[in-house]
Amino acid sequence: MNKSTSVLYIAAFLTIIGGFSLASLLMPDRNFSASENRALAARPDSRIDSITSGTFFKEMNQYLNDQIALRDQLVALYQKQQGSKIFDVMLFENLFRANSPQKPEDGTPVEDARILSKLVLINQKWILPLPGKAVYMQNIDAAAHKLNEAVKFAADQGTESYFIFNPSRTKALMHLYPPFLRTDSYDRSKEYFLSKLEKYVNVVDTGKRFDSFTNAEREQLYLETDHHWNIAGAFIAYQEMIAQLSERSPLFEDVPMSLNEIDVGQLTDGRFEGSYNSQINDAVNPDQADRTTIYEPRTPLELTRFEVVNKDGTHPPLDFNEFYGFKRGQSAYTYGSIYGGDRQKIVYENARANNELNVLLLKDSYMNPLTPYLARHFRKLTVLDNRYYSEFSLRNVLANEHYDLLLVAFHDDNLFSGNYEFEKKNGQ
């Protein structure tokens, strides 16, 4: 190597490493990463104890990783690269083994699959998580035990309980994965979870209704680029919940709304910002993604009281129509913006219900589109999401106010998350 070439190497190398270093030091720190949906690390305090224990260095590594200049742009570039044809995991499949012909009811044939940041992009349209193949028995044991205890305590308080199991997207759309990624671990995990519940836990498994649909029909019930189902899927689950509760509960009897009471439309314009799509920097064009079904009940929900507590504990003065529903003409939509989003607490009081039941619902975000539908059937419905409380005690909630019914509604891939922390102290 001659001198001028070596100088060029040195200049390029030092410019790159020094440039990143200087730019990172000069640019203001960011607090939050929208695409990752998490707080970014702040500069750690240098204390003697944290230095000697090593936590300072760990925190400093995290801080430097999070605050490096051009981080989001470089991650987007990486994801774009991983989305290129060479990384299509169906490449061999398509080259050497032509896809066997499928019947329409078998659903969309997988022709293209790329793995981007632990997500699988199918046919440039569907985004699914990279499936796990393990059954986490210990975690499931712990979660099922907590649920058993909660239901037992509720019974002691004179509250009738139902555990509602909604069909998760990953399991319901397993046919959309390339064959070698498909797994029955989600079925096995669900079965294992159910086997760990005590006999006194009433299970409303809305997933059974979904299992009766064809693959093609199930595809119509979920969003393409988001973690969740669409309103068509949520509505079927709502009908199943009300029908099963009505059949099994001695306290409750009612019929669910039918599709005849709904104006069905479709999202035709505006971006749909799916939660998975945001994580991979809109690998699917949001202007074309998820032209999803819109349901608008013909009879508006009339409430005598409506109260919302946000995730941060604030009480916004919200009108129900501002809180929930599809608003035409917006430039961007998300699952959260259409269906109310995650909140600490929502209270619906409905004087027109055919009963005087006071109902408590503990839920995950799959239930968000359904809470106004459920509110039509009860005198009072209180919706709590314990993930957004730093301290939470279901025992206190049930002891402080009498509830006739306790509904615990999670999706069947949510088998041991923080949702099961029914008794949570600060920091847990």
Binding site: S21, I68, Y78, F87
Partner: protein, 467 residues
């Protein structure tokens, strides 16, 4: 701290380079020493003191050796220093292992709290021993300057994962070294190459190997087992040789020249040749400081085999305190003994089959190296040959192949000297410029790719709140 991290590449390295080249020569060693201590403390703040104590003791032993007049005294001082160094290493690395062994062998109930292993202790202990033995053999004088000895032992490029630099190889460079832009640029090339081996090949291959080795042997098909061990065979090579490349490259940037540690070991035609190409600095350390002092091969045949088994069992145990490591070392001892007994000659007649035989034998050795215990290692090997009846191929094998075929192909090519041969091709002077430009683009494309992977690895979407 590790080289393949944002903290090192974009913060530590620019700072140490800036200060190193800003100060006069007499302060350069001090800068390197200070930064080497910070480098170590970044991963092991509590054990910096242990390392400093070890350095002070070895500094004292060196002076003591130098001052001892009679050979008998020198031998005593060296023996004492070796016992102390090995004692320190033994306590941290082998105490729990020894207690477990005693308990299981003698059915006792001795208790010992788990002792964390200080990073790099095996390397810096061997550096210190190299220094003392070289002084004893009068190959070098005892180092009177504590800072220089400290720098030899702690110099951050080779501190935590080698290569094991012999004292006689760097003693002069500690006093004076020439700097040139050519050497610095070669260092950059070497550093980028090592970083690329680690991040672009070893890390993804490691995920494949982890996936397979975390699978219960009851569920492991022959295809999965072979994919797993091939991935691990490539991972460990690119991980370790990548680290050595980075160390050699960084050394060059600071004006040091270190010897090569790997020379394409997977093209070997015999196990002996494999060990002349794999972790050369460790092999030559054991050869010069253990095997030859025991008599080497210039002794009676049975003594030579005894020496081989001693050296290879120690080599195995040096890698980790477990019987699987000892078995791995002994396995190579047996293979090399067999080669010395005539197998090597026989193998050489089987070209090119001997390549395949060596590769399979090495891979079987890696099974012991990677497995957590003997039970899993033997069950894994049984799966490799479908003796457990789990089938030849399954969905896991297919999935791993589909998703990683490009890494596997690239790694196999990169494990051969093809790239090195291409670099050595002499083009005409007219094409020299084009060759240099292509080389520049190649290295900096690799570097850009490494940066993309590195930064993406910190991308960690928080899914929990989405449920």
């Amino acid at each position: 701290m590790v080289f393949s991290s944002v903290s090192f590449i974009f913060f530590f390295l620019p700072l140490v380079l800036a200060l190193y080249f800003a100060v006069p020569f007499k302060l350069k060693n001090t800068i390197l020493l200070l930064f080497s201590l910070v480098f170590y403390a970044w991963g092991e703040p509590r054990y910096v003191l242990l390392m400093i104590v070890s350095i002070l003791l070895n500094y004292g032993y060196g002076i003591w050796l130098d001052r001892s007049q009679r050979d008998k005294n020198k031998a005593f001082v060296l023996s004492f220093a070796i016992v102390m160094n090995i004692g320190l290493l033994g306590f941290f690395k082998y105490a729990n292992f020894t207690v477990d062994f005693v308990n299981s062998a003698l059915k006792t109930n001795l208790e010992l709290q788990p002792i964390p292993l200080p990073i790099g202790i095996s390397f810096y202990t061997f550096h210190a021993l190299s220094y003392l033995i070289d002084v004893y053999r009068k190959k070098e004088e005892a180092q009177r300057n504590l800072f220089k000895l400290s720098l030899y032992i702690t110099f951050f490029p080779q501190l935590v994962a080698g290569p094991i630099i012999r004292y006689d190889a760097v003693a002069q460079q500690l006093d004076r070294r020439a700097f040139s832009s050519e050497q610095f640029a070669e260092g950059i090339q070497r550093f980028i190459l090592g970083l690329s081996k680690k991040i672009l090949l070893a890390n993804p291959l490691g995920l494949v190997a982890d996936n397979v080795f975390l699978t219960s042997a009851d569920d492991l098909s022959a295809g999965s087992a072979w994919i797993g061990i091939i991935a691990y065979t490539l991972q460990i090579y690119f991980d370790f040789s990548g680290y050595s490349d980075m160390a050699i490259g960084l050394g060059k940037m600071f004006g040091f020249e270190f010897a090569e540690n790997f020379k394409y070991p997977y093209i070997s035609k015999s196990i002996s040749e494999f060990w002349r190409r794999w972790h050369i600095s460790l092999g030559s350390w054991f050869r010069d400081y253990v095997y030859i002092p025991l008599g080497g091969s210039r002794v009676a045949r049975w003594e030579m085999y005894r020496n081989l088994f001693i050296v290879w069992t120690l080599t195995g145990l040096w890698h980790g305190a477990s019987w699987t490591f000892a078995a791995w070392g002994l396995y190579f001892g047996v293979l090399i003994a067999l080669e010395k007994a005539g197998l090597e000659k026989l193998l050489s007649k089987l070209f090119p089959l001997n390549h395949a035989v060596v590769l399979v034998l090495v891979m079987m050795g890696w099974v012991f190296f990677r497995a957590d215990d003997f039970g899993y290692a033997t069950a894994f090997m049984a799966s490799m040959f479908n003796w457990r009846g789990n089938g030849l191929f399954d969905a896991q094998a297919l999935s791993l192949l589909y998703m990683n075929w490009h890494y596997l192909i690239l790694a196999v090519i990169a494990a051969t000297p093809l790239f090195s041969k291409l670099r050595e091709l002499r083009s005409s002077p007219r094409l020299g410029g084009i060759q240099a430009a292509a080389s520049f683009v190649f290295y900096f494309t690799l570097f850009a790719e490494v940066i993309l992977h590195l930064i993406n690895s910190s991308y960690n979407p928080f899914l929990y709140f989405r449920f």
